[in-house]
């Protein structure tokens, strides 16, 4: 059984009198340790998928099974526990707590997890050993995103969800960040799902899910994903 299973998942938003059908009955499987990229234009419904997968939003119809658990039937409290223990999340805008140093931001997440990694080691891993005690405002965007990744990783999650992690970064920095993600995934055999509008990034994925207007247009599997360094965009 696949690590992640989406079965005919629908998501509808009620906006006043208008119902927005954000996800229209999608189904897909993701295996353990796969680096998956969900790609599509703005409004394609990829963020919704990520939200649903991250337990941040509830679906309207269908089934989502993660690691054998049917999270689509979870209530709010169970979802919180799910997010707390199984998910690492990397935001487009880093979302670091501005009032905490890099290390503290990581520690904040580490505190939540049952079996966290050593925050300092994780920070070392993301290459921020020397900047641990800096506040987010003292860090560059890339550095901030590394802190964010470290914050996600320190929880030792089953699943790492990344929402356009490079969206707010310049290419070079973005590449560094992506590399970090790719390497980490490989080293830890972690399942990573990244959403992006940048099709170029599909090359680095084990699996690519293409979406458009709330529907999956295509699911591809890369037998040989490229290392990030070799991708150009």
């Amino acid at each position: 059984m696949s690590f992640i299973q989406f079965r005919n998942v629908h998501k509808r938003y009620q906006m006043g009198e208008v119902t927005i059908h954000a996800v229209k009955g999608i189904s897909f499987n993701i295996e353990q340790g796969e680096f998956t990229v969900v790609v599509g234009a703005s409004g394609a419904g990829k963020t919704t998928v990520l939200n649903l997968l991250g337990g941040m939003d509830s679906l309207s119809e269908g089934t989502i099974i993660v690691n054998g658990k049917e999270i689509s039937s979870y209530n709010e409290r169970q979802l919180t526990e799910y997010r707390r223990n199984e998910i690492g999340f990397v935001f487009q805008f880093y979302n670091l707590v501005p009032n905490l140093t890099a290390k503290e931001n990581v520690e904040l997440a580490a505190q939540l997890s049952k079996n966290p990694l050593d925050p300092e080691k994780v920070l070392e891993q993301v290459g921020l050993k020397d900047r641990m005690d800096n506040f987010p405002a003292q860090l560059s965007g890339g550095e901030q995103q590394r802190v964010a990744i470290a914050r996600a990783l320190v929880k030792n999650p089953q699943l790492l969800l990344c929402d356009e992690p490079t969206g707010a970064l310049d290419d070079k920095t973005g590449k560094n960040v992506l590399k970090l993600l790719q390497d980490t995934a490989k080293q830890t055999d972690m399942t990573v799902i990244m959403i992006t509008h940048n099709s170029a990034l599909t090359a680095m994925a084990d699996k690519v899910i293409r979406m458009k207007s709330g529907e999956i247009t295509k699911i591809e599997t890369n037998e040989h994903p490229l290392p990030v360094e070799r991708i150009e965009w």
Binding site: T47, N99, L108, L112, K155
Partner: protein, 1162 residues
């Protein structure tokens, strides 16, 4: 285009509905409170002004105890400031209800003529019934202070005070109550003082003017200018004082002429009286003279009678004396007679004795004679017997001889037979018996010998007998011879005794003769005595009769005399009485004149010209209004400042959040002023609507609630004008300025950046290490979330200060409110429970009182358990003798030792008891503060407006009402050289809750020396009423502060959350549980609240100090401290509000969508 732009504005209002509303609400509460409380004083003033104008309350009142005449009124009317004058009558009387309760009533006159054509002053409001029209009708006061038993339609009776005649004042004493009225002359419970009854007026009433028989004694005046002036205003007060001065001047002249006239009249009367007195004296002297003469003649007669009586008595006495002599003589004679008689009796006795003796002697002699005879016969007998013996003897011898012959015969010639023998014997001469004896013997011739032997034996015995007889004869002869000799002796003695007896008998006979002679003499003397005695008795009888007769005559004379005397005395008494009566009457008249003169002299030099200040409650109302004005000065301003501060920050935060929008607008090419105008407009709309709403509500709610609370005390109808330009403008300007200025400043600041910068997510505020981190042991021990909390708290300084100040402000306001209540209530509690321990005070007239009187008064009242005489006099005190003098009470307790049981003097902070020292004075705290002096300093005391003495301050004691200086009598005497005159007595009661005050006071007032009595409970109750109203105002303050606190807290928390939605969404995504999310936010709030509360403590203490300092009037000290419980309450309330607000926030936090975390920061 323009529409779209405007839409932004409305949308931003709509999107920030809560923020908009909270800004509005804070502004509304702040403005409403500020303007409302501030408007209360002018509203109260205004309401009273309206009321006074509507009722046309006088501006000035003249009261003249001597009455006012038409020419006085004329003179007043002519004065240039005077608009109109209305005459009136006023008299204090006793009113008795049908239940029998008596009240002191102040009766005023009512003349419907005055009120025609909408004129007339002091218009009455009729509460029920109608106004009095004709004689015997009365309208009494309406409202809660009037006795309930007086009912419209009922009857009451009036009585005059002692020394006055009701029929000189009113034509009747029974009045029918036609209605109940409110007079503008009385606006609160105070009915003023009087000199009758228990010293205070109980109610007022109106009767028709024509009922007054006395002269008009009141004039009510309105001035021309007063119509345009506000009552209580300085302008008005100045104006009325000025007219008062003028009237005083007029009054001085009028009173002088009136007094002169009166005193002239009195003097004339006095002269007349003198003359009358003189004549009366003359008349009485004459009458007395007459009486005197009558008395003299009576005395003479009495003397004469006495002389006559004496003469008569003398004569009678002489007679009596003579009789006495006679009697004496007679008595002597009698005694002589008695003596002689006794002697005679003795003689007779002796004679009888002698006679008896002689008789005895005779008997003896006779006996002796008989004895002699007897002895002679005996002797004869003896002689005879002797003779017989001799015969016998001879016979015997013959017999013996015969017998011896017989023997021989028998022997020798023996008879042959017995016959022969008996014959033989017969023939023998022997006594028969022997013959018999022998014959009886058997005879036998052969045995003759036996007879012979027998005969021989007989012979022998006869022979023996013969010898015995012989002997006997011999003895008898001897005895006979002796007896014969003796008889011869006796015969001699007998003869001699007989001779002697015969002599004695003769002697006795002679004595008897003499005795009988004496007896005859005695009997004669006795009869003579008897005659004399009779004579004397007769004489005595005569004398007695004469005496009785004289006595009777004299008695009669004497009775006549004494009757005459009694008559005279009666006449004299009558005269005395008449004289006394006449003189008393004259004296009374004289006294009356004298006292009238004295009174006249004591009368003021001028009229009693009074302004409205004389209306009871008039100044109290002003004081109450001003007190609220004082509260309004500071408290609402703090309140408003807190509100404005919170608004300002809210505004700032909001605009800062809208930074992206500002960037877009700027990028789109909107000009800076236009964009600024957008936010200005927002601020303006929020603050203006809030302010207008606040004004609309505040101008009504606060004045009307407060005035209604005071309405219980004052008869002034609540009237709200509802608008005060000054406060409206001030608060509108302040409210809009603070918000719009904040908006302007922030917008302008933001707009300084280029649009690109604005469009980019705002550079996060750099994280910063905070000072706690520099204490590693503390920091490392903090849990993670605490670290965040602390960082957050210290990073957002603006928010920190805003929150701390906001919460602190609210806590401070609450503390101030509660503290104000404490301070106000402390006055009562401390003053009347901790300091003044006595239950009442009796005011005495020191000139009529001594220690004995006090004892007597106290003893007459069983409710009093202990007492202490004390001097309570006015004294004016100054720090250096030159500065302004402060009015104080100089207290001199008779005994310092027991004083502590009546007034507990102690230092406020240390609570240490203070004893009045032998040297130096103890002064009350507020006085010390006003004089700026402390223990050891010298103060200057002016006693009774006279001399000024320096006193050394020994200690300062806690005191809240009025000022007091306590000294010992000794120190007072030492300083002033005068002995203290005790004019008061502090008392403690046994069952103070059971004492009927009215009766108690009336009983005390019956003592001549008692001027008045006060029970502390009454003072407390009255004072409590005032305080209760003030407490009500404070309650409003507290509620308002609470309301503000809720809104401020809500607003602050709301801002806090809105600002951090992203952060909160992020931690939610990270997997924070809902409780952890709450805590993440609350922890900060709680810490800020705690810091805020602590700041609030400081603010509260400062606010409170400031407010009470501003509110305090000079003669009063508020409780200086906020009670511990008030802090607790304020903290608890703030905490409660925080909890409520946080609870509400929980739902808001829950609603935060995690998707927010994905959005770009803007």
């Amino acid at each position: 285009m323009k529409n779209a732009f405007n839409k932004i504005l409305f949308r931003s209002i709509r999107n920030n509905k809560i923020r908009f509303l909270s800004i509005m609400a804070i502004i509304a509460i702040g403005v409403g409170f500020y303007a409302g409380i501030n408007a209360t004083e002018p509203e109260m003033m205004n309401a009273s002004d309206q009321y006074y104008k509507k009722q046309n309350l006088f501006d000035l009142r003249i009261y003249s105890p001597l009455g006012l005449e038409e020419k006085d009124f004329e003179q007043i009317r002519k004065m240039k400031d005077v608009q109109s004058v209305q005459e009136g009558y006023m008299k204090d009387l006793f009113l008795t209800t049908k239940d029998g309760n008596t009240y002191t009533v102040r009766i005023y006159s009512y003349d419907p003529e005055d009120y025609r054509d909408k004129k007339g002053m002091n218009r009455l409001r009729t509460a029920e019934g109608r106004l009095p029209k004709k004689q015997g009708e009365i309208a009494v006061e309406a409202g809660n202070y009037a006795p309930k038993e007086i009912k419209t339609g009922g009857k009451i009776t009036l009585a005059a005070a002692e020394g006055e005649q009701l029929n000189e004042i009113l034509p009747t004493d029974t009045y029918t109550v036609t209605g109940k009225v409110y007079s503008p002359l009385y606006i609160n419970y105070d009915r003023g003082q009087t000199t009758i009854g228990d010293g205070s007026v109980d109610l007022y009433a109106y009767i028709p003017e024509q009922d007054f028989l006395i002269e008009a004694n009141e004039a009510y005046i309105t001035t021309k200018k007063s119509e345009q002036m506000m009552t209580y205003s300085q302008e008005y007060e100045k104006h009325s004082e000025q007219v008062q001065k003028q009237l005083n001047k007029t009054g001085i002249q009028a009173m002088k002429s009136k007094k002169d006239a009166l005193s002239a009249e009195l003097n004339t009367e006095k002269v007349k009286l003198e003359k009358e007195k003189h004549e009366a004296e003359k008349k009485f002297t004459q009458a007395e003279q007459k009486l005197h003469e009558a008395e003299e003649s009576l005395n003479k007669s009495e003397k004469e009678l006495e002389e006559t009586e004496r003469a008569a008595k003398k004569k009678l006495d002489q007679t009596a004396k003579e009789l006495d002599v006679h009697e004496q003589k007679l008595t002597d004679t009698k005694r002589e007679y008695e003596k002689n008689y006794a002697r005679w009796k003795k003689g007779k006795q002796k004679y009888i004795e002698e006679k008896d003796r002689l008789h005895e002697e005779r008997k003896k002699i006779d006996e002796a004679g008989r004895k002699i005879f007897r002895t002679e016969s005996e002797l004869q007998k003896q002689k005879e017997m002797l003779e017989d013996g001799k015969v016998q003897l001879a016979q015997l011898k013959q017999t013996v001889d015969a017998l011896e012959i017989l023997i021989s015969d028998i022997t020798n010639n023996p008879p042959e037979n017995k016959a022969e023998y008996s014959a033989f014997i017969d023939r023998t001469p022997i006594p028969g018996h022997v013959k018999e004896q022998l014959k009886n013997l058997p005879y036998y011739k052969e045995h003759r010998a036996a007879i012979t032997d027998e005969i021989a034996g007989i012979i022998k015995s006869l022979q023996t007998e013969e010898s015995v007889i012989r002997k006997q004869i011999d003895e008898g002869i001897a005895a006979y011879e002796k007896g014969t000799a003796e008889l011869q002796n006796i015969k001699r003695t007998y003869t001699k005794g007989r001779e002697q007896f015969k002599f004695a008998e003769r002697e006795l006979q002679r004595a008897k003769e003499k005795l009988d002679r004496t007896k005859l003499q005695l009997d004669h003397a006795l009869s003579e005595i008897k005659v004399h005695e009779n004579k004397l008795a007769e004489a005595n009888e005569r004398l007695k009769k004469e005496e009785e007769k004289a006595e009777k005559e004299f008695n009669k004379a004497r009775t006549n005399l004494s009757e005459a005397k009694v008559e005279l005395a009666a006449e004299r008494e009558k005269l005395e009485r008449e004289k006394e009566k006449a003189f008393t009457k004259m004296e009374e008249a004289e006294d009356q004149i004298t006292s009238a003169l004295e009174q006249l002299n004591a009368m003021p030099e001028q009229w009693f010209v009074e302004t409205r200040e004389s209306v009871p409650g008039y100044s109290g109302y002003r004081d109450d209004a001003e007190r609220i004005g004082e509260v309004a000065k500071i408290f609402p301003l703090f309140f408003f400042l807190v509100a404005a501060l919170v608004c300002m920050t809210s505004m700032t935060r909001m605009i800062e959040e809208e930074r992206g929008q500002i960037g877009i607008l700027k990028a789109l090419g909107y000009s800076t002023p236009k964009i600024t105008a957008n936010y200005l407009f927002y601020a303006l709309v929020a603050s203006l609507t809030g302010a207008v709403a606040g004004l609309a509500a505040g101008f009504h709610i606060f004045p009307s609630t407060i005035m209604n609370a005071y309405g219980i005390m004052y008869n002034i109808p609540v009237q709200i004008s509802g608008f005060h330009m000054n406060y409206a403008v001030i608060s509108l300007v302040l409210a809009t300025l603070t918000t719009t200025m904040a908006a302007l400043a922030v917008t302008v600041k933001e707009l300084r950046s280029s649009p690109s910068v604005l469009l980019q997510p705002r550079a996060p505020k750099p994280g910063k290490r905070i000072w706690i981190e520099k204490i590693p042991p503390l920091w490392s021990r903090l849990s993670f979330s605490h670290k965040v909390t602390f960082r957050n708290i210290f990073r957002y300084k603006q928010r920190f200060f805003m929150t701390v100040l906001g919460i602190g402000g609210c806590t401070g306001l609450l503390i101030t409110g509660f503290g104000l209540s404490d301070s106000i209530n402390d006055i009562l509690d401390r003053q009347f429970h901790d300091i003044f321990l006595y239950d009442g005070q009796i005011v005495l007239d020191p000139e009529k009182t001594n220690a004995e009187d006090i004892k007597k008064i106290i003893a007459s009242e069983k409710n009093i358990s202990s007492y202490l005489p004390i001097v309570n006099m006015n004294a004016n005190v100054s720090a250096n003798g030159e500065q302004e003098f402060i009015e104080t009470n100089l207290m001199i307790p008779e005994k310092t030792k027991s004083f502590d049981r009546f007034v507990h003097l102690h230092e406020r902070r240390s609570k240490k008891a203070v004893k009045i020292p032998d040297e130096g004075a103890v002064i009350s705290e507020k006085l010390a503060r006003l004089l700026d002096c402390k223990a050891g300093d010298e103060i200057y005391v002016k006693i009774n407006g006279g001399k000024t003495y320096p006193l050394k301050v020994h200690a300062v004691v806690e005191n809240y009402l009025s000022h007091y200086i306590y000294v010992t009598p000794e120190y007072y005497e030492k300083v002033t050289g005068e002995r203290p005159e005790y004019n008061s007595v502090f008392i403690k009661l046994k069952n103070k809750s059971k004492v009927d005050e009215r009766a108690f006071k009336e009983r005390l007032m019956e003592h001549e020396s008692v001027l008045g009595a006060v029970l502390m409970q009454t003072v407390i109750d009255e004072f409590k009423d005032t305080l209760d109203n003030l407490n009500y105002v404070v309650f409003i303050l507290i509620v308002s502060a609470g309301l503000l606190a809720v809104v401020v807290l809500y607003n602050l928390t709301n801002i806090n959350i809105t600002e951090r939605i992203r952060e909160i969404a992020t931690i939610k995504v990270l997997g924070f549980r809902s409780r952890e999310v709450d805590l993440y936010v609350y922890r900060e709030n709680i810490i800020l609240t705690i810091i805020g509360i602590m700041t609030g403590f400081l603010l509260g203490i400062v606010f409170h100090k400031y407010v009470i300092h501003t509110m305090e009037i000079d003669s009063m000290m508020f409780g200086q401290n906020v009670h511990f419980t008030s802090y607790i309450w304020s903290v608890l309330l703030t905490m409660l509000f925080t909890i409520v607000v946080n609870f509400l926030m929980h739902f808001k936090l829950k609603k935060i969508d995690m998707v927010e975390s994905l959005k770009s920061p803007d």
